[in-house]
């Protein structure tokens, strides 16, 4: 007896397996290139491979657009998605909760680390204005926000932490070329451990290529990807702090 739930890609009939692809091959357009493109798609398991276009794009390369059918299904019954865990309370309630449980503001520090100069993402979590009509942390009575901006070296961020002693640290990473983000994030986490201050604080990371899974792997408390709104982060921080020290 199986509970498997198989799903397949859809063009215009359930389970038809339709998929669109485009790619470049290092071959001049011609019968050989076309056949190579077809065989490549067959290697991916596709059948009914339709090479819709083959165009020379210079320097001996060809561009292809393909529609094809896959025989593969995905069993979604065994997918367990992990996401940061928190209840989504309205801003007023969260403010109230912090007031009664902490009797002070939660101090947060935010920075984009390494040579990454992208601030828009972090700003949209921290600034009053927020994101997509959802107010940023500065707007909450619950938070005291220190936004250090971009291009902050991990070591400098650690110095600031030692000085300000925040409850939570928010790190942003947008540039992921050559895994620059992994390098920066690991370095920062190592420094926190070296200074012995990792345990006391909630450390989250965000950015368009960040997943919760990746964040956990690197020892962060949570990871927030594209489309995050500030209230997600606000709730997570407060509830995580309460989990860490339920006695406050």
């Amino acid at each position: 007896m199986s509970n498997s739930r198989l799903i397949r890609t859809y063009g215009d009939q359930i389970n038809d397996g339709a998929v669109q692809l485009s790619f470049t091959l290092p071959l001049e357009s011609g019968a050989l290139a076309k056949e190579a493109a077809k065989r490549f798609c067959e290697k991916l398991g596709f059948h009914d491979v339709l090479i819709c276009t083959m165009e020379n794009i210079g320097e001996g390369f060809s561009f292809f657009v393909v529609y094809a059918k896959t025989p593969f299904s995905v069993d979604i019954s065994d997918i367990k998605v992990i996401t940061p865990k928190y209840k989504k309370l309205p801003r007023e309630e969260l403010d109230e909760l912090v007031k009664t449980r902490f009797r002070r503001k939660i101090v947060v520090i935010g920075a984009t680390i390494g040579t990454d100069a992208h601030t828009v993402g972090l700003d949209s979590i921290l600034n009053m204005k927020g994101f997509h009509g959802d107010y940023g942390l500065e707007r909450y009575q619950a938070f005291e926000v220190h936004n250090l901006g971009s291009q902050v070296a991990p070591i400098d961020l650690v110095k600031k932490i030692l000085q300000i002693k925040p409850d939570a640290v928010l790190v942003s990473q947008v540039v992921t070329q050559r895994n620059a983000h992994i390098k920066n994030l690991t370095e920062f986490m190592d420094l926190l451990h070296a200074e012995g201050i990792r345990e006391n604080i909630v450390v989250v990371v965000g950015g368009p290529r960040i997943t919760h899974e990746l964040a956990l792997e690197m020892g962060y408390d949570a990871g927030f990807g594209a489309g995050t709104v500030p209230s997600d982060v606000a709730n997570f921080i407060v509830q995580e702090l309460l989990k860490k020290s339920p006695t406050v």
Partner: protein, 521 residues
């Protein structure tokens, strides 16, 4: 909006309209003296005759065949069926069933002309009341839900399975479609009968049947209430069953029918006499039921060059307009066809597109222009295609078109996938909204390329119409004047279904329609 956007030579405009009127006058005389098997079946359908006999042949076909076999068709089916029904004291449906089973109508007694007329009058009244009711119902819903802004986003569904079509249509409506067209199965237009019932298999489209109409209408009305805007439903009339489909569409509350006075002749090789006669009856029904027709000039540009033969589109629009006027259609129901089909690699091609689109707009200021997307120059490069669609959508808002058939990026590849339709809507939603009021901001240079080009096409159309008026429309079609396709007047499908009306021919519904629409005495 600053109207007119470009100045057309008013003398040319007048001349064009006059010529088209003359051309269609000549044909209308022939139309008036003929009827077709399809027109006769239409009468029966309107009278409520339903069902199929053996092998799925509709009862209406069987009845018309029987009457034809008995060499009585020239009087029209109405006379004989109503006579039989009066004599047998059966309703029309039962009478027809009996005729199909070979009732010898020729040997039945004949009721008095007065009694016959009286009976026909009352039946006609019933038919027209029912149609009115249906169109009032639709008008009501339309008023409640409100009209979306133009250009309306028109999407096609074509799975072959009406239930699957419903799913696809609903998804399209959720993402912004204003109009849903169910494409007919390939070559249905060559069938000399309308299939019956809900259908789940088709070739590149779904059969047009009364039940399929009903299913989709209901689905769209439900969806319309959810999205709070009226959703129009389209199907195709042109073909061997033009008037029958119009009748079924009217009964089921459809909003738009593809309905061209010449499409069947040119693109389906249907006999010209057959098509001319059929289109007239179908348009009377559309006019009465408030169904917008869509003509098919766009098709010309799939076989002929869109710049070189631009004037054939204009000439055909003028002819379609006059045929529609003759069928009592108000201009707001005449959706004339046009298309964005210029080779995308031509320098300043877009200026031509704008000129042609503005010409259609200005020459028929009260008609809702149906604007077709690039198809011919769409290739397997779906990205390039998507860029072309973007410009097509932009030209449409810029020139103030009405009914926008959204282009599909996979046009050269397959009938649209769900995601293809979604992307078509994403494109149109973006462009229409982002450029919403562009038409009232932009002017075109007086005596500039665009204005000159529009007048040039109009002048060429007038030239062509002069010639057509001289030799007659039928001869012009024989010469291949439209779409580069030549058809002979004695060739094509369905000529055997055309007949000359006898002196005792009656078609009370048509007469009443003509009266109410004010087209005949």
């Amino acid at each position: 909006m600053n109207k007119p956007r470009i100045k057309l030579d008013s003398k040319l405009v007048q001349r064009a309209k006059d010529l088209a009127e003359k051309i269609t006058d000549d044909i209308q005389r022939i139309i008036d003296s003929h009827s077709t098997v399809s027109v006769e079946r239409t009468i029966l359908r309107l009278l409520g005759v339903e069902g199929v006999v053996n092998e799925g042949i509709p009862l209406v076909n069987a009845v018309v065949e029987k009457i034809k076999e008995k060499d009585l068709l020239q009087d029209g089916v109405c006379r004989h069926v109503v006579n039989a029904s009066t004599i047998l004291e059966e309703d029309i449906q039962r009478t027809c069933e009996a005729i199909a089973l070979d009732l010898d109508i020729a040997s039945l007694p004949v009721v008095s002309e007065e009694q016959l007329n009286q009976r026909m009058r009352s039946l006609t009244q019933g038919v027209l009341d029912k149609l009115k009711e249906k169109s009032d119902e639709r008008e009501e819903l339309f008023k409640t839900l409100g009209d979306p802004p133009t250009p309306y986003k028109y999407l096609i569904v074509a799975t072959g399975n009406i239930y699957e079509d419903v799913v696809q249509a609903r998804a399209a409506v959720a993402k912004g479609a204003d109009i849903i067209a169910v494409i007919r199965s390939t070559a249905q237009s060559l069938l000399d009968y309308v299939p019956q019932g809900a259908t789940t298999e088709g070739y590149g489209g779904t059969y047009a049947t009364q039940e399929n109409f009903r299913i989709m209408r209901q689905a769209l009305d439900e969806e319309a209430k959810k999205v709070n805007r009226y959703i129009r439903l389209v199907n195709y009339a042109s073909g061997l069953c033009m008037p029958e489909i119009a009748a079924l569409a009217a009964m089921e509350g459809l909003d738009i029918l593809l309905n061209d006075a010449m499409y069947g002749i040119l693109f389906r090789d249907i006999n010209m006499l057959r098509t001319f006669v059929d289109q007239y009856t179908s348009r009377l029904l559309c006019a009465y039921s408030g169904i917008t027709i869509n003509t098919g000039e766009d098709n010309y540009l799939t076989t002929s060059d869109a710049i070189e033969k631009a004037h054939t589109v204009t000439a055909s629009q003028l002819i379609n307009e006059q045929f529609a006027v003759k069928a009592g259609m108000p201009h707001h129901l005449m959706g004339l066809g046009h298309a964005f089909e210029i080779n995308p690699d031509i320098e300043d091609g877009l200026l031509y597109e704008i000129a042609h689109a503005l010409l259609a707009r200005e020459l028929f200021p009260s008609c809702p222009i149906k604007y077709m997307p690039p198809t011919r120059y769409m290739t397997g490069n779906i990205f390039k295609g998507y860029a072309m669609e973007t410009m097509f959508n932009f030209v449409s808002v810029l020139t103030g078109q009405t009914i926008q058939l959204l282009g599909i990026l996979t046009e050269a590849i397959h009938t649209p996938y769900l995601q293809d339709r979604y992307l078509a809507l994403a494109n149109a939603n973006y462009v229409f909204n982002n450029a919403r009021h562009i038409a009232s901001e932009v002017l075109f240079k007086d005596n500039g390329f665009i204005q000159k080009r529009a007048n040039e096409v109009l002048a060429e159309a007038v030239n062509m119409l002069e010639h057509v008026a001289e030799i007659g429309l039928m001869a012009a079609i024989e010469e291949g004047q439209f779409a580069d396709i030549a058809r002979s007047r004695s060739g094509g499908k369905g000529l055997d279904g055309v007949f000359k009306k006898s002196s005792s021919y009656v078609n009370p519904i048509q007469e009443e329609l003509e009266k109410r629409l004010g087209v005949k005495k």
